[in-house]
């Protein structure tokens, strides 16, 4: 194998590991990566639609794919059988990769264990007023997913209470960093962030809501019309492999593959309380929900 390959990587270190492993495996292919946020990369892909510069996008949130149909080429990956159909696009244009489960992050210095929120509805308790930080649901798919989960479980009454308690930040990083630094007590964020902080010794704990977190996933895909379609397919196959998914796990992310164990120190996926999160419903009511959110927020 030879030629070039351009990977759009919104997955940070996980993506870098996969790319490095692929490079080792296929030294003939000169692979290069564009690292940026999901928003930037999808905007870029949309702008490059007529003359795509990238070949593959790696581990971006599934909401982004749903919002940008037509940018990706279907591909029959030999790894298909190892994937649950729920994490693969119907036309096989994207394949799941990691599972960014949302969990509560609490600062253990600022809160005693008995004060921890345990359920989504706990977030609405008056005691948490001013102690909760959330990312604005307009900010990203995962931030919206948090709101959508509350809405699907409890509706606007509880959501309104949560909104009262919470500070909605514009920087998703602020959520866990502020909790980790002791700026605020509780936040909701991807479990990977909590795990990373815990590993580094931050005084934080991860709480999975007992009323269940929604099962969400990131996905990878071949960009339609990219300059190196063959290498792109090769790369996607590799990214779908068990080997690659183990690399993902090594960065504290949970793999969608059933045959890959969750990261050490994280609850097995099966034990994580989940609830049947309807992402299609979430997507279809998004505009309406966010409009309502904006109104309530502005008050």
């Amino acid at each position: 194998q030879e030629g070039g390959l351009v990977v759009y990587n919104p997955a940070g270190d996980a993506g870098e590991l996969i790319i490095d492993a692929f490079r080792e495996k296929y030294p003939g292919i000169s692979i290069s990566a564009i690292n940026a946020g999901v928003g930037e990369l999808f905007t870029r892909m949309a702008a490059e639609k007529d003359n795509p510069q990238g070949d593959v996008v790696l581990c971006a949130s599934s909401e982004a794919f749903l919002a940008n149909p037509g940018l990706f080429a279907p591909h029959e990956s030999p790894e298909l059988p190892n994937f649950d159909p729920s994490v693969v696009a119907a036309d096989h244009s994207f394949y799941g990769c990691s599972m960014p489960l949302q969990a509560f992050i609490v600062n253990t210095n600022l809160m005693s264990e008995d004060q921890y929120p345990r359920t989504w509805s706990d977030l609405a308790k008056p005691e948490l007023e001013g102690k909760l930080v959330l990312a604005n649901p307009s900010l990203s798919g995962s931030a919206y997913a948090q709101l959508a989960q509350i809405l699907q479980l409890y509706g606007w009454d509880v959501a309104e209470q949560v909104m009262k308690n919470a500070r909605f930040t514009t920087s998703s990083q602020s959520v866990f960093q502020d909790v980790g630094r002791g700026e605020i007590e509780v936040g909701v964020t991807g479990e990977v962030n909590i795990k990373t902080m815990m590993d580094e010794g931050y005084p934080v704990a991860a709480i999975y809501p007992e009323d269940g977190t929604g099962l969400r996933f990131d996905a990878s895909a071949v960009i339609a019309g990219g300059p190196n379609p063959d290498n792109a397919k090769l790369f996607l196959d590799f990214a779908n492999s068990k080997e690659a998914h183990e690399l993902i796990v090594s960065t504290n992310r949970r793999s969608v593959r059933k045959d890959v164990a969750p990261p050490e120190g994280l609850m097995p996926t099966s034990e994580v309380p989940t609830f049947p999160y309807d992402d299609n419903l979430a997507a279809s009511t998004r505009d309406e929900n966010l409009a309502k959110f904006d109104e309530l927020f502005a008050q």
């Binding site: 919104p10 928003g39 702008a47 510069q53 010794g201 005084p203 502005a298």
Partner: protein
Amino acid sequence: MSELAATALPTATRRRLNIAPYVAGGVTIFVLVAFLLYPIGTTMLNSFAPAGEAFNGLNATLENFSRFFTSSMYQQALWNTIFIGVVVTVLATAVAVPAAYFVARVQMPFKPLILSLSIIPLISPPFIGAYSWVVLFGRSGIVSQYLNQWFGVQMPPVYGHFGVILSMVLSNFTFVFLFVQGALTAVDPHLEESARVMGASRWRVLRTVVLPLAIPPMLAGAMIVLIEALGEFGTPAVLGGEMYVLSTLMYFQIHGFFNLNAASAIALVNVLITLGAILFLIRVNKKRRFVTVGSTTRRAALQTGRGIRIIANLYVWGLLALALLPQLVVVFTSFAEKWPGTLWPTQYGWGNYQYVFSRVVEPLQNSLILAAVATVACVIFGTLTGYVAERKKFVGKWALDLTIMLPFILPGIVTGVALLVTYNSGPVALTGTAAIIVIGYFVRRIAYIYRSVVAAVTQIDLKMEEASTVAGATWGTTMRKVTIPLIAPGILAGAIIVFTTLISEMSTTVMLYSARWKTISIAIYERLETQEISAAAAIGSITILVTLILVLAATRVIGKSMSELFS
């Protein structure tokens, strides 16, 4: 007669056509249209098209703007933007002007160093600058904790208007500071002297003579501050808490909804605010057609009074210390190998540097090359256009002003996308090349030079150019030998600002960079994405150091040329 004939000189031999201004003007117009007006214009038009479509005249809609009329969040964000923009501009100007006056007029040691250090706040690597304020003054911040422990003082929360304004003022005052400082150094001191002998107090001279004379450069700087404040995303994101501004909403549209058209619509509102500011500026400036650099302008005698020197040193160094705090925190953080939410790091060392070393060399090289090339382009075209705009009479000057300011008003990502869409395919496909990054940098930064040149040219007595023309100089020669040397401090100040801010340019770069042309700001961004804040700080520190060295060298040049000009 024979004695004269013996030393005959050619005259008619140089009878070439004076086409330089037309060539220069033509090229400039071409560049402005091709790289600025066309891509930005089409993108802006798209704000009238439904999400995901390109504007074609038939799909015109105002839906992207409707939220400004229906959503109170939008209206509040609009109000916040204007409020923050105005307050930051006023405060930044207010803190910068005294500093500029002190540096220009009071005897102080280390002036080149002061000038260079004042640049540093502009090299704020994305996000970490704002985080530094949290690290220091947040609820668990270092300063807050000690204040609480030692004095029982509770710091007011750094989040919200207070933190955002503080941080923006301190990172943007430099624009006003440098422009005004340069202009004051050049102003004919006879003017101040004459007010002094009439009995005006120093303060009165300042208020009635010096400040009014410094108005063109002050407005030029304030304009830039205003636009920076309107467009800034990182600071309100980190420090704003729930105070949203238009750039926040644009970010939502791009990151949450992938809706560039709606983002453009918000940007267009931003543009309108700025347009208002520009028109205001032009109005104010029109009344002030005055010249302060005459043919015999001397260098002002520096004030040597003890009192004023103490005040000046305290003020300037105090301001710098405050403004450099975020950068100091960045440098400090780069030595923290472990800092898990504790007050102080738990482990120090060079580890971060070792870790990032292999990742910085190439991006740093790239950044320096790209920034340098773009700076040169900005200097050439910014100077030409600025000169023409100030010296020539033509209708629609405000349109030129606006064209130049446009990409600078728009969020970088919008400009980036505009260029990407325009030059992605077709006869000039530039995507993935260094050229497109340079173009992106160029259109985003030409306004700095343009503004500072316009301000500088206003000050120069036209008669000196006339003297050169009458002596037989072509337009180009006059520019080269008379005008440019006289406005050199302004150009150089602009160039340094352009160069420095380009080194940490992020929002356009992220759209345009390719794997071959990864810049240092992308390298920092990558570390932030992977939560390696200390590693990001290490790259940031290296950037700061390299830029500081370059700027120091450049201010040497400025310092030299300034003293050559007015000694």
